[in-house]
């Protein structure tokens, strides 16, 4: 049994230690908001926060999480940055197919938690690991700026 804390709840899972957090969330805990896109940390669809740091769940063996690690997923992300980001995403109708957007939002929330006035270069650096095949990048950029403005207000 491995104990992990997800969205503030302690959970026990009976899985091998090398099982990536992604599959623990999706297949064992039935939390499907975190998406499988590539399996090799190249697309960012599986981005969660581990102790606040954006992390690719597909390359995070569950056994490597520390006993006190706190995992936050799209289902549980809260706070000022999360609210501002999700509201901006909805205001600007960012989504198309939507499959990558959980990961995009988790990366954007992490960016804005640290930096409430990101430049275009900051946005590129924080978001280049998140692929959107629909190419909603124009609106993601605009929504991050909109959310940043909300947070600064």
């Amino acid at each position: 049994m491995i104990r992990i804390n997800v969205n503030g709840e302690d959970r026990q899972v009976d899985v091998p230690e090398d099982m990536p957090l992604l599959w623990v969330l999706r297949d064992e805990l039935n939390m499907t908001g975190t998406k499988f896109g590539c399996g090799v940390a190249q697309c960012g669809a599986c981005t969660v926060h581990v102790d606040g740091t954006p992390t690719r769940a597909c390359q995070t063996p569950v056994g490597m999480l520390g006993p006190d690690s706190k995992v936050t997923t799209i289902e549980g992300v809260t706070g000022k940055a999360a609210q501002a980001v999700q509201a901006a995403w909805q205001k600007l109708d960012v989504v198309q197919c939507g499959y990558c957007q959980s990961g995009q939002i988790m990366s954007a929330v992490a960016l804005l938690t640290d930096n409430q006035n990101p430049t275009d270069q900051d946005i590129d650096a924080a978001m280049d690991g998140n692929v959107c095949r629909c190419a909603t990048y124009v609106r993601i950029r605009a929504a991050i700026k909109d959310a940043a403005q909300t947070m600064r207000a």
């Binding site: 899985v15 091998p16 099982m19 990536p20 599959w23 999706r26 297949d27 064992e28 039935n30 499907t32 908001g33 975190t34 998406k35 499988f36 896109g37 590539c38 399996g39 090799v40 190249q42 697309c43 669809a45 997923t73 799209i74 289902e75 999700q86 995403w89 909805q90 109708d93 960012v94 989504v95 198309q96 197919c97 939507g98 499959y99 990558c100 957007q101 959980s102 939002i105 946005i123 590129d124 978001m127 280049d128 998140n130 692929v131 959107c132 095949r133 629909c134 190419a135 909603t136 990048y137 124009v138 609106r139 993601i140 950029r141």
Partner: protein, 746 residues
């Protein structure tokens, strides 16, 4: 060329009736060379609507409104979309059309996917239920307006009966039914039950467009914008049925290969692996969860039989294509005498320009890897949960595999995490695989999952193409001759769609956008060579136009330069008979500031094209730095797609189409060495990323023409506009894609 059979799929035991016999229904006609790929017929299902006035009475009101609209006692209005929403916003668009005629309040409107039903939900352009070719809005326009108007009339009649007042005195606005004189009102929900008992009106009056309150309004939000931002939207990948197991499939690493022998002893020892089964399409590892299934597959030892495999690499294939291009192909278009015109132009001070264009294989790589859940039904048949794009084909293929009737195959269509054409296959490929595994393992619902590597290496690519073009302007700079040869694979040949799509040896989807050249030219010759290979290919967002628009527009800029003419002015001279193309070209040029001088190292390029009955122009600005590296800075797009239902969604489709077109032109390619695909994941099949994306500005041409589509038409002109911008700076035409091959993007 029976590539489907060679890859182990059953020969689908069906032929889509209307496609195979285009005259079966009055509105279908066989595709002519140059028409949109899947726009099999341009006629309307209801001839009475063909010459439709702004508002008129039409009838009979059929199909029945309840097939499309459900008004519940809780006052919600659910509009059933028979089309797949894979991001293009079609659920929102379809719901808007119905809600407009219904006079519903947008806040009460919901969207849902219609079940698979060949009779109720066929795409009128295809003759089967399916989504593609940017047809969903055009296909739904009359149907959903009529359904909405009929439902509204029934609500009015129910209110009039309850209040015993003339129906003519009853009004509807924002979901409220009112009788002003007696100051009474009821909600849709309060009237739903009574209205449902009334006969469906045979005559309905459609709104005058000037009275629209939802259609064309810029501030209507997508119906999926909340669920897709909080993780609650359910894709097929997220379906969890009781006792569900997960399967991954080991497939031949070479196209056309089959299983020779399997050693599954190690795979069976992987904790969580339940079963290993050999199927015609590969070896399935069935496990308790996805991770175990993937580990189990890694532990398999499979020997493949390559006797029918493609063993060439893409360089060798291309060399073969070049040899073929020296020989005449099957004629796709012809008028005048191009060879004579070339000789005359050369002799009399004109210019002859020649070039070979190379377009690589490209994967669709939708963000949601292909997957489907299949459960066998106790009463026979099965239920499929999938981002289903060709329900009509999938029902027939699944029925063939299971030995049941197509209507015993239930499909629960889910939000799809992208498609770009990948989910619409002529043999239902990944869904057929899932059904085969479910048949072999009937104990529990089976979730068949492709990994990203399966997807990148798994084929169904946009085909590799070679274009050879020779064109001439005369001494006055007028285009006098155009000769074009296209070499590549047909993805229609050998499928049930061949009869409708391949004419006189030419697959219409290979030459569309070339054989129907819009620019005025007195001498035109377009022909094609269809080559066979076990490499599987498929339509890919905007189909033939992905390559034909590119080669045409890049050559036009070379000809403009040879003639000493401005690229926009040169195009406009040749588009006098095409006002809608000229219209978007002028609009994009004006908004982009065409004609203003560009600073050193910056370039501007243009392209214009019609696809899927929509008209799009792109103007792109690029920077070429001292090292010759290119960055796309800004793109201006103009589109004319007729009456716009939701302008913000049209804009988002232009943004996305632009990114799709440019992203693949920068670095996208699938190559093979000795028949093995060189790329594996997003670290080698390189997608467009945030830092690649230019500023995109979209302008929509106001129009009251019938609505067409926006999902695909934003793609074709994006890359050639960028290529022409680079050409304006470097003088080097970009004729081999992707640009990274020429070392100009990192």
């Amino acid at each position: 060329m029976r590539q489907a059979a060679r890859n182990g799929f059953p020969e689908a035991g069906f032929a889509p009736g209307p496609l195979a016999a285009p005259s079966r229904r009055g509105f279908l006609k066989a595709i002519g060379a140059g028409a949109g790929a899947l726009v099999i017929g341009a006629h309307l299902p209801m001839p009475a609507l063909a010459a439709e006035a702004a508002a008129k009475t039409v009838g009979p009101a059929d199909p029945r409104p309840h097939a499309f609209i459900i008004i519940a006692p809780d006052n919600t209005v659910t509009v059933l979309a028979k089309h797949l929403d894979k991001g293009q916003g079609i659920v929102t668009g379809i719901a808007t059309i119905a809600a407009e005629e219904l006079d519903a309040d947008w806040s009460q409107v919901r969207g849902a996917f219609a079940p698979a039903d060949a009779k109720l939900y066929a795409n009128h352009f295809f003759g089967i239920q399916g989504t593609g070719g940017s047809t969903a809005i055009a296909n739904s326009w009359d149907e959903l307006r009529m359904a909405g108007a009929a439902a509204r009339a029934m609500l009015v009649a129910a209110a009039a009966a309850r209040w015993t007042v003339p129906a003519g005195e009853v009004t509807v606005s924002k979901g409220v039914v009112r009788h002003a004189a007696s100051n009474r009102s009821l909600t849709f929900g309060e009237l739903a039950e009574e209205a449902a008992k009334l006969p469906v009106p045979q005559q309905v009056k459609l709104k005058d467009p000037k009275d629209y309150v939802l259609i064309g309004k810029p501030d209507l939000h997508r119906l999926d914008h909340v669920s897709k931002t909080n993780g609650t939207a359910i894709f097929a990948m997220d379906i969890r049925r009781p006792d569900q197991v997960t399967a991954v499939l080991a497939r031949s690493p070479r196209f056309g290969g089959t299983v020779k022998s399997v050693d599954d002893a190690a795979a069976r020892k992987v904790p969580g692996v339940i079963e290993v089964v050999s199927l015609p399409v590969g070896v399935a590892v069935i496990a308790r969860n996805t991770w175990a299934a993937m580990k189990g597959r890694e532990a398999l030892t499979v020997t493949w039989d390559d006797v029918n495999s493609e063993m060439r690499g893409t360089d060798a294939m291309l060399a073969d294509y070049r040899k073929l291009a020296d020989q005449p192909g099957a004629a796709a278009a012809g008028k005048g005498d191009a060879d004579k015109a070339f000789a005359e132009a050369a002799a009399r001070g004109g210019h002859v320009v020649e070039g070979d264009f190379v377009f690589p294989y490209l994967a669709h790589a939708p963000m949601e890897p292909l997957n489907a859940v299949v459960a066998l039904n106790p009463e026979g048949g099965c239920t499929i949960w999938a981002g289903s794009q060709f329900q009509g084909v999938e029902q027939m293929v699944a029925a063939h595999i299971l030995g049941c009737k197509p209507e015993q195959v239930k499909i629960e269509t889910q939000w799809a995490g992208g498609s770009f054409g990948r989910r619409a296959t002529t043999n239902a490929d990944y869904i057929a695989e899932a059904v085969m595994v479910a048949k072999a393992y009937p104990k529990a619902p089976v979730h068949l999952v492709w990994t990203r590597e399966d997807d990148i290496k798994g084929g169904r690519y946009r085909p590799l193409f070679l274009h050879r073009i020779k064109a001439a302007v005369d001494d006055k700079g007028a285009l006098v001759a155009w000769k074009q040869r296209i070499v590549g694979q047909s993805f229609m040949a050998g499928t049930p769609f061949e009869a409708a799509m391949v004419k006189n040896g030419v697959d219409a989807t290979m030459v569309e956008g070339a054989s129907d050249m819009a620019y005025a030219v007195p001498n035109l010759a377009v022909d094609a060579h269809t080559v066979a290979s076990p490499v599987t290919t498929l339509w890919w967002r905007s189909v033939g136009h992905t390559h034909t628009a590119y080669s045409k527009e890049v050559m036009i800029d070379r000809l403009a330069k040879a003639a000493g003419k401005d690229p926009v002015a040169f195009r406009l001279e040749m588009l006098k008979d095409h006002p809608r193309l000229a219209g978007v070209l002028k609009l994009a040029a004006e908004k982009a500031g065409w004609g203003q001088p560009m600073p050193q190292g910056k370039g501007r390029g243009v392209a214009v094209h019609e696809s899927f009955n929509s008209y799009v122009a792109h103007v792109a600005d690029v920077t070429v730095d001292a090292k010759g590296q290119v960055k796309v800075d800004r793109v201006v797009v103009a589109i004319d797609c007729g009456q716009v239902i939701n302008p913000d969604i049209v804009k988002s489709q232009m943004e996305g189409g632009t990114g799709w077109g440019i992203g693949h032109a920068l670095r996208g390619e699938i190559t093979m060495t000795d028949g093995m695909v060189d790329q594996a994941n997003f670290d080698s099949f390189l997608p467009m990323r945030m830092s690649d994306m230019p500023v995109v500005e979209v302008h929509i041409m106001p129009s009251s023409e019938r609505p067409t589509g926006a999902g695909e038409p934003g793609v074709p002109t994006a890359a050639p506009a960028v290529a022409n911008a680079i050409f304006s700076v470097t003088g080097q035409p970009q004729q081999t894609l992707p640009f990274s091959r020429g070392g100009i993007v990192s």
